[in-house]
């Protein structure tokens, strides 16, 4: 077979090697391809003792691997799963994890090291050249394929009977719709769900630390208290989903320091309640700076000013935290005066 050459385009710069193929240097072209360099023998190729040494090294690596596997099994059997040991410089670590990982690692590594050493020192390292052939088929092959295809298409009569073709295309286009429809029950429709939380008029504010309802006098200046609505029970799915919207934080601010008029109205005696869910992408806010009344979301550092309607003063959040209107009931406990007036958490298309 005469080797097919990769075709060259005339108008493009020439590739290396096309003028002097086969590595014959043209006498007056100093840049010509001199061809493959001659093979330089390694020490193992000429010195039998060196080759023997390599052989021993490879065998030793494989042997170490076997020993490491035995050590792995022994460690698995002997070391209790909960044993903690101090290993410098790692500190306190699980003894079993350390032993299993190191023995497994050694067993694997030595197989690899042995194989690579074997390949590098003892297997032939003579470089050989193989020909490449163009990926694209020669013209006659292409012609044959085209005529075969034309024959097939002709025999199917698809070109002559467009009615079949068109109805087939229609059927194929429609059949995936069933699959799409089947996805409908993946979940309910959003409806108003993102607008409502379990907060309602009269719901007590429960301190998440103590599990008790809060009185105004429990709320100290300068501290951030996390609260949840009464009646939410931990350890259920409903809890997870509801708390994702209903988590609230309260702080006490000197009423004179409250800059926002509505905030003051919705507060009780300087106690303000805000959604704890960041309006950026929904992380819970966790840090409070008492001098400035700033709260910070740890996820992307959005910062809100609780003394000024919780407006965003830094970071990627797009709008203020929603405020919960609170008051005090007949028994002197803090209660909500209704649900949030706007959706809590991240913004969405229907939020408006």
């Amino acid at each position: 077979m005469s080797s097919q050459e990769i075709p060259e385009d005339k108008h493009l710069p020439s590739e290396q090697g096309d003028a002097h193929h086969g590595g014959v240097a043209v006498a007056d072209d100093p840049f010509a391809d001199p061809g493959l360099p001659v093979h330089k023998p390694r020490i193992q190729d000429i010195d039998d003792r060196a080759a023997k040494r390599s052989e021993r090294t490879v065998a030793m690596l494989f042997t170490v691997s076997m020993l490491a596997t035995i050590a792995f099994i022994a460690a698995y059997v002997i070391i209790p799963v909960d044993k903690i040991v101090y290993i410098f410089p790692l500190g306190k670590v699980s003894a079993l994890n350390f032993a299993l990982g190191m023995t497994l690692g050694t067993a694997l590594f030595c197989i690899g090291a042995g194989a690579v050493h074997w390949a590098r020192t003892l297997m032939s390292d003579v470089e050989v050249a193989d020909d490449r052939h163009p990926i694209a088929a020669p013209a006659d092959v292409k012609a044959k394929v085209m005529s075969d295809f034309a024959a097939g298409a002709e025999e199917s009569a698809i070109g002559r009977r467009p009615l079949i073709r068109n109805t087939l295309l229609g059927a194929l286009a429609m059949v995936p719709l069933s699959g799409l429809v089947l996805l409908r029950d993946l979940g309910p429709l959003p409806e108003e769900k993102l607008r409502k939380t379990v907060w309602a008029k009269g719901k007590l504010l429960i301190n998440q630390n103590t599990g008790e309802p809060l009185r105004p006098e429990d709320v100290q200046v300068g501290s951030l208290t996390f609260v949840q609505p009464e009646g939410l029970e931990e350890g259920t799915h409903e809890f997870q989903t509801e708390i994702a919207k209903a988590a609230v934080m309260i702080v006490r601010i000197q009423p004179d320091d409250i800059k926002d008029k509505r905030e003051l109205e919705w507060s009780h005696d300087g106690i303000v309640a805000y959604s704890k869910i960041c309006t950026h992408v929904g992380c819970p806010i966790s840090l409070y700076e008492q001098q400035t009344h700033h709260v910070l979301c740890p996820c992307h550092q959005s910062t809100f000013d609780l003394s000024d309607g919780a407006r965003v003063i830094f970071g990627p959040a797009g709008h203020a935290l929603p405020q919960l209107r609170i008051g005090v009931n007949g028994e002197g406990f803090l209660e909500a005066l209704g649900d949030f007036e706007e959706p809590v958490g991240p913004a969405f298309w229907e939020r408006g």
Binding site: E15, K193, G282
Partner: protein
């Protein structure tokens, strides 16, 4: 094969092979491939690292499925990790604790799985860079480039879904982040979110749903792409760097059997061994320190796995723009980062197609470029990496702020400006460096290698002795091809009829000038120049 004269029975191995050949045709397959030639270069091992870490991930992942319970049912923990006794948590979290504390070797396998995943994505990016900077993506390998890029994208999502499965505080925060991002999509965002989570976030479905995506859907697609990727590497035959005896029409290296097989097979064990050792000494994702997910709790310093740091940087640096109009909200502050994520990632993926459009080169390329010899391409690649790094810094802005005692504000502004400025700077600087290196190569070719030996000339001047390069070197340094910039050509044809030049054609010519025009590449020395200078040297 047994002949009439060959009476003895063939050895067992041969008989098995005969059996298989009669059914599978393995001899013809082996004839073409057993002694297939593979060129050798350290950078060709990067693809292997991807392959091996993927295999390790599959092996360890299957083991984990034997113990992991993909359920969000709330249970009370009673395993052997004392600090969590009696805590309510999802079964997913509880079973992850069990794998870590009650299954012997479970922690090791978990850690190998996670480390291998991090190394997998990192190796893919580095492998992609090697393919990019050497121009290995050129015809006929564009399709394989696309397969590879899809593997990278799928790898990132597989990592993200896996990371979310234990339902711990950190991963739950990441899922919330994703939900918030989905909500920002105009018109359909809330619907997608409700369908994905089976209702409101977090609901009780997402772990089970992510599980089937993580262990079946995405790995299944990746497996198919990976096999196709490797078949194409075989079919195209590997590229090689230019050098004596290496042409566009041959492939020089060592045969698959035995050398390449031993090296590649051995390398698998090396990679696996190293990852096992890392898993033995370096804790990763200690979910027991974090606790189970609660939507109202958060750990400080919430950080995703590194490969998600890029979108994280986008979302942190973006100003919180929100537009309220006609009762609807356009959450640009989140939606723009969501769109930029695939755009930034995809910028590198489309380059090969832009380049081949600009050059109009339809030939096959099997010889790799040295990065300096394609200055514009190299500069673009470095600009892309620079952009990626800027965003990674943005993604870890709190950590950087703490570590370098800077304000987060300063870092955020650095990222906002750097997003636009750093890639441009990186582009300009890289291009200059490439051109400088090209000049240096030219010098070497024309004047020889600096020997460090100083010679005093008769008239007292000191000069460094230059030793002429060997023909091997001369050939290697001059064998790259250089494009000539495209021209618009005459706008009036021979019959005097005006020819319309389209806007696209004008753009192509402009780009071509920017890539191959004067000042954008240093013309390589010609034989005449070389000869003239060499004969000139004789006069000294």
């Amino acid at each position: 094969m047994s002949t009439a004269t060959d009476k003895r029975k063939a050895p067992a191995g041969e008989r098995v092979a005969d059996w298989a050949d009669g059914r599978l045709g393995i001899y013809s397959l082996a004839k073409a491939n057993m002694r297939k030639i593979f060129p050798d270069h350290w950078s060709f091992m990067l693809g292997e690292i991807c392959l091996y870490s993927f295999i390790i991930i599959i092996l360890t992942g299957v083991y984990l499925t034997l113990f992991f319970h993909p359920s969000m049912n709330e249970v009370e923990y009673h395993g052997s990790y004392v600090p969590m006794q009696g805590v309510m948590m999802s079964e997913a979290f509880a079973s992850t604790l069990d794998i870590s504390f009650d299954v012997r070797g479970g922690l090791l396998i978990r850690q190998i799985h996670h480390w291998a995943a991090l190394i997998f994505v990192a190796a893919m990016i580095v492998h992609m860079m090697r393919v990019f900077f050497t121009g290995a993506f050129r015809k006929p390998r564009e399709v394989n480039w696309v397969f590879g890029f899809l593997l990278l994208v799928l790898g990132m999502f597989t990592g993200f879904t896996g990371y979310s499965l234990p339902d711990d505080l950190l991963s739950g925060t990441g899922v919330r982040f994703m939900e918030g991002a989905i909500l920002s999509v105009p018109v359909v965002g809330t619907y997608i979110s409700f369908f994905l989570f089976g209702g409101e976030f977090p609901g009780s479905d997402f772990v089970a749903r992510f599980y089937s995506i993580h262990i079946l859907l995405l790995p299944g697609i990746m497996m198919g792409l990976l096999v196709a990727h490797l078949i194409l590497v075989f079919y195209h035959k590997h590229t090689q760097f230019p050098g004596p005896g290496r042409t566009n029409n041959n492939v020089v290296g060592m045969p698959l059997l035995p050398v390449y097989m031993a090296k590649a097979g051995g390398f698998f064990f090396l990679v696996f061994g190293v990852i096992a050792a890392i898993a033995a000494i370096a804790t990763i994702n200690p979910i027991w320190n974090l606790g189970p997910y609660r939507p109202d709790h958060v750990s400080t310093g919430a950080q995703p796995d590194w490969y998600m740091g890029m979108p994280e940087g986008l979302i942190r640096a973006m100003p919180g723009w929100e537009i309220n109009l006609w009762g609807h909200t356009l959450v640009l502050g989140v939606f723009i980062p969501l769109i930029l994520f695939p755009l930034v990632l995809g910028a590198i993926a489309v380059w090969p197609f832009i380049e081949s459009w600009v050059t109009g080169d339809k030939r096959e390329h099997h010889l790799l470029d040295r990065p300096r010899n394609a200055p514009t391409r190299t500069a673009f690649g470095v600009a892309w990496i620079a952009e990626y790094i800027v965003l990674l810094i943005g993604g870890g802005n709190d950590m950087f702020a703490q570590y370098f005692h800077l304000s987060i504000n300063a870092i955020t502004w650095f990222v906002r400006i750097g997003f636009f400025a750093v890639p441009v700077l990186a582009f300009i600087i890289t291009k200059r460096i490439c051109l400088g290196l090209q000049r240096r190569d030219n010098d070497k070719v024309l004047h020889g290698r600096e020997t460090g030996v100083i010679k005093r000339l008769p008239h007292g001047e000191f000069v460094e002795v230059h030793e002429p390069l060997s023909q091997d070197k001369l050939h290697t340094l001059t064998s790259h091809h250089q494009y000539t910039p495209a021209e618009i050509g005459p706008t009036v044809d021979e019959n005097g009829v005006e020819r319309k030049v389209g806007a696209m054609e004008k753009l192509r010519v402009k780009l071509s000038k920017g890539m191959y025009g004067e000042g954008n590449q240093i013309p390589k020395p010609t034989v005449e120049e070389y000869k003239e200078i060499q004969s000139g040297h004789g006069h000294h």
